[in-house]
Amino acid sequence: MKKRCLVNRRGYFFLIDSVIALGVLIVGVFLIFSMYTKVPSKEQSTILSDNVMDFFANNKIKDVNNLYAGLGGELWAKEGQAGGLCPGKKLTQNSENTLLQQLAEFYEKSAGNSCYLALARKFIVNLTKNTLPPQYAFEFWINGQLLYPNTEQVGSKNAAQVLIPSKRIVYGNVNKETGEMFGPYTAEVLVWQ
């Protein structure tokens, strides 16, 4: 009788023992893995800024199907007319220009007339509409001149945990008659969350 009681009690002990051991293991594993805290992913901002820059650097005017900036688009047809952003200015579309070169051309011309900055801004807006997730913001700079947006978002950038720039050197095509060629300029895209 006494022996049977002893055996039954051992069973309880073993059971409780194993449950406690299991609990300790689970807590231990949980603690170990929770030590690897999740940091904001740097990769997504990097990918986005690289993507935006690649898009502008690797696509030509003739390659984009955009009602505003593409060949025969509103920019070329209307912005140089009365009521446009640069009235009286001849806006010649060079289909062989990359989008980045076109922006650099606007930047170069803005030295003589600031309407080209507004044109560059609208160019960027129309080409990047709905491309970035809404929680991300970006800025586009050429040679230290902010092209997009209107004003530098200092507060938002300072609050960002991760701010990744993508930089490229941009220069123009050669004018076959005069030999003129603008650049090299530094183009920079900043993306943050």
Partner: protein, 334 residues
């Protein structure tokens, strides 16, 4: 007593087994200390700089060579016009201007009175990329331009080759390229013909423009348009000099690249002479009649709006398909 001892042994056994399992878990759990993220950063940097180096050699150096080459040609044309003299050595002068912006060690812009070569020599343009690359990629780029050659192998283009050595150094890697040959091809259309400028003291400027008339399409009407427009044409097996030869008044036949035009008798700088009005013959031939072999052409030679005193040699009469309309002028028919 036996039961208490047994119970205590059980506790210790449990504790030990938990500790062993915990140690095993910690040992085989992936550590946060790894180099993978650092490797990806280094890889990205090296990849970006590598793209920059490739772009430098394939695009930027060629494009800047073309840009400064065009400006050099414009400068030299302007120089010959200003000084009213031909160059003595086009290749040497070209090299000096494109690299240093000087001719015979004098700044060419000070002679021409124009800022064509200012900040636009090949040396200037390669220095610009040095600053840009430092800013963008934080790399140190150095260039050595070993040599520049200019030549023609096609009639409507001037070729420029630059032998350049460059190095790019970053924190992570360095690139060195020795004796890279950078090539640029410059179209000569729309340049002023220096031969016209020097021969007329700057009074007759004629832009190089290629005629669209094929060799078997010439007739009186096409020739009249050709003269009026001041265009140029190329004849296989012709005797005309090339564009580059016109800088030095070398009027020998260029087998690869000879081009010619016909001077317009209605231009005030052109006077009546008993010579062929093919451009390279007009100013170089000695007008001697009756020894010349010259023809006037009915339908072309005549008072304005035709071309007064217009004459051609037999070779050109045949080439331009004017034989049915040609009348011998020199020597005069008895």
């Amino acid at each position: 007593m036996a039961i208490k001892q047994l119970g205590k042994k059980g506790m210790f056994l449990t504790f030990i087994s938990i500790s062993i399992i915990a140690v095993l878990i910690i040992m085989f759990t992936p550590s946060d200390v790894n180099l993978r993220k650092d490797i990806s950063v280094v890889e990205t940097r090296a990849s970006n700089v590598n793209s920059y180096v490739l772009d430098l050699e394939d695009v930027y150096l060629a494009r800047t060579l073309e840009s400064s080459g065009i400006k050099t040609i414009i400068s030299l044309i302007s120089y010959t016009n200003k000084t009213r003299g031909f160059l003595t050595n086009f290749e040497a002068n070209f090299k000096e201007v494109i690299l240093n912006g000087t001719i015979n060690k004098v700044p060419i812009d000070s002679i021409t009175g124009q800022n064509i070569m200012k900040d636009s020599t090949y040396t200037n343009l390669t220095n610009k990329i040095v600053n840009a690359s430092k800013n963008v990629f934080n790399v140190d780029t150095t260039f050595t331009i070993n040599n520049v050659k200019v030549y023609q192998i096609r009639p409507w283009f001037v070729n420029v080759d630059a032998n350049v050595s460059f190095s790019v150094n970053s924190e992570t890697a360095s690139w060195n390229k020795e004796n890279a040959i950078i090539k640029a091809e410059i179209e000569i259309e729309n340049f002023n013909d220096p031969y016209y400028l020097v021969s007329t003291g700057g009074n007759y400027a004629n832009k190089i423009r290629k005629s669209g008339t094929r060799f078997d399409e010439w007739n009186v009407g096409k020739v009249k348009d050709f003269i009026r427009d001041g265009n140029y044409t190329r004849w296989e097996n012709g005797n005309a000099p090339s564009f580059v030869m016109r800088f030095t008044n070398d009027l020998s036949a260029s087998t690869c690249c000879g081009i010619e035009s016909i001077v317009n008798p209605n231009n005030p700088a052109i006077s009546d002479k008993d010579v062929s009005y093919a451009d390279y013959k007009y100013w170089s031939s000695t007008p001697v009649c009756p020894n010349s072999n010259l023809y006037i052409v009915n339908g072309i030679t005549g008072p304005f709006p035709l071309f007064p005193n217009f004459k051609l040699d037999l070779d050109h009469v045949v080439r331009y398909n004017l034989t049915p309309n040609a009348v011998l002028k020199c020597p005069p028919t008895p």
